[in-house]
């Protein structure tokens, strides 16, 4: 048993190289290239490095590919919708916070 304490990394705190992104997400290089081309994933800089946020999205894409048989355009579309839902839910949450008489 280890006694060390591990430090978790926040979504935007560190960037990872393309190899690590591919290995950690299970996406193929070609799929990644397409997802970036479609604007579904965005490199963190001019050289192809990615934030943990992008990795989480890439893993999501790979899951959708495996479980629904999606190709790259399908993954890009699904990611776009899911991001939109996330944004709407954030907004909904923000508005709900301002309603009177909530139950804690």
């Amino acid at each position: 048993m280890t006694a060390e304490t591990l430090l978790a990394r926040l979504a935007d705190e560190t960037t990872i190289a393309i190899d690590e992104l591919l290995a950690a997400s299970g996406l193929a290089g070609e799929e990644l290239a397409e997802l970036v081309e479609f604007g579904a994933l965005e490199p963190a800089g001019a050289t192809w490095t990615f934030s943990t946020r992008a990795l989480v999205a890439a893993r999501r894409a790979a899951r959708l590919r495996d479980d629904f048989g999606l190709n790259a355009p399908g993954m890009a579309l699904a990611l776009a919708y899911l991001e939109r839902i996330d944004a709407l839910e954030r907004r909904l949450r923000e508005l709900e916070c301002q309603l009177p008489g909530w139950e804690a």
Partner: protein, 314 residues
């Protein structure tokens, strides 16, 4: 070993064609996939569906599963003699496993990680499994940063090539700046790789426990602040609790219900620098019970006041 009826999980007959199994899986995935579904137990349900599909979609695994015979779900059973050898199961003692573990390591292959690394390389270098765990934190813990201890119990491959369930306790430092629903990554701290394969990663989901006072939206906090009608009308200085202690806020004369008072920097810390804000949402409340004197004063106010809030409706 407890029996699980994979055919029932997928809702198909035992003689279902491969295509029908796939169709049924897709349908259930549509319903329970955690990326798509908001049903409460979606993730659990989907895992069961996935485990069942993993086995039944692979002709070899399906044959091995069928050889186990049909039992009642949850019934304790033993595989027929020679079953492991016939189907090239590597590990010696089957008692330590549940059915899902067993088929996951079918034929001596590596781990299938949760989602990410499926369809991997085959061969003997397999990346380790990714772990995904959830830390339930209080708002105060998120505010000051927290250390969480999590129990990770996952099958691991020993140097001799057998599989064992190795419970581990990992301590993880959640850095300041994390928010509810965020997914943090600890690289290389998932399951060990097989052969020259790299270790998996550990993903930590942050789940915020409800707070009796504050609601959170990202790094911002919201506090419902009840004020009396006369405080709203005349203005007041009110003490409000923040995560850093109590502070005084000025309610301006003529304030309305629903107005937000922003206390800059009194929200949750942001990743690099700065903090979110705390918003006090004014709520004008009226007393449910009035003394005679109070009632008199309100009645007098009603007679005296020329205020008409409904002028525009006339």
């Amino acid at each position: 070993m407890k029996y699980k009826d994979y055919y029932a999980t997928l809702g198909v007959p035992r003689d279902a064609a491969a295509d029908d199994i796939k169709k049924s899986y897709r349908k259930l995935a549509r319903k329970y996939h955690p990326d798509v579904s908001k049903e409460r137990d979606a993730e659990e349900r989907f895992k069961e569906v996935q485990v069942a599909y993993d086995t039944l979609s692979d002709p070899e695994k399906r044959a091995a599963y069928d050889q186990l015979g049909q039992h009642r779900p949850g019934e304790d059973f033993r595989p027929p003699p020679g079953w492991e050898r016939q189907f090239r199961f590597e590990q010696g003692n089957l008692d330590d496993f549940d059915l899902a573990d067993l088929f996951e390591h079918f034929g001596g292959g590596g781990f299938r990680s949760q989602g990410a690394r499926r369809g991997g390389t085959g061969g003997f270098a397999m990346p380790g499994q990714d772990y995904e765990v959830t830390a339930h934190l209080t708002l105060e813990e998120l505010h000051r940063g927290a250390e969480v201890s999590l129990d990770v119990a996952a099958p691991e491959r020993t140097p001799r090539g057998t599989i064992q369930r190795a419970p581990r306790t990992v301590r993880i430092r959640v850095p300041k700046g994390a928010t509810d629903g965020e997914r943090l990554r600890v690289a290389g701290r998932g399951g060990p790789g097989v052969g020259s394969g790299p270790a998996g990663d550990l993903y930590l989901n942050i789940a915020l426990r409800p707070h009796p006072r504050y609601r959170t939206s990202g790094h911002d906090l919201y506090l419902e602040l009840p004020v009396t009608p006369w405080e709203a009308v005349l203005g007041a200085e009110i003490e409000v609790p923040t995560l850093d202690g109590r502070v005084k806020v000025a309610v301006r004369p003529g304030s309305r219900a629903g107005q937000k008072l922003r206390l800059a920097g009194k929200g949750l810390p942001k990743p690099r620098e700065g903090h979110g804000d705390l918003y006090c949402v004014l709520q004008v409340v009226t007393p449910a019970v009035l003394s005679d004197r109070e009632r008199q004063l309100y009645e007098e106010l009603g007679r005296l006041s020329g205020f008409n809030p409904r002028g525009h409706l006339e």
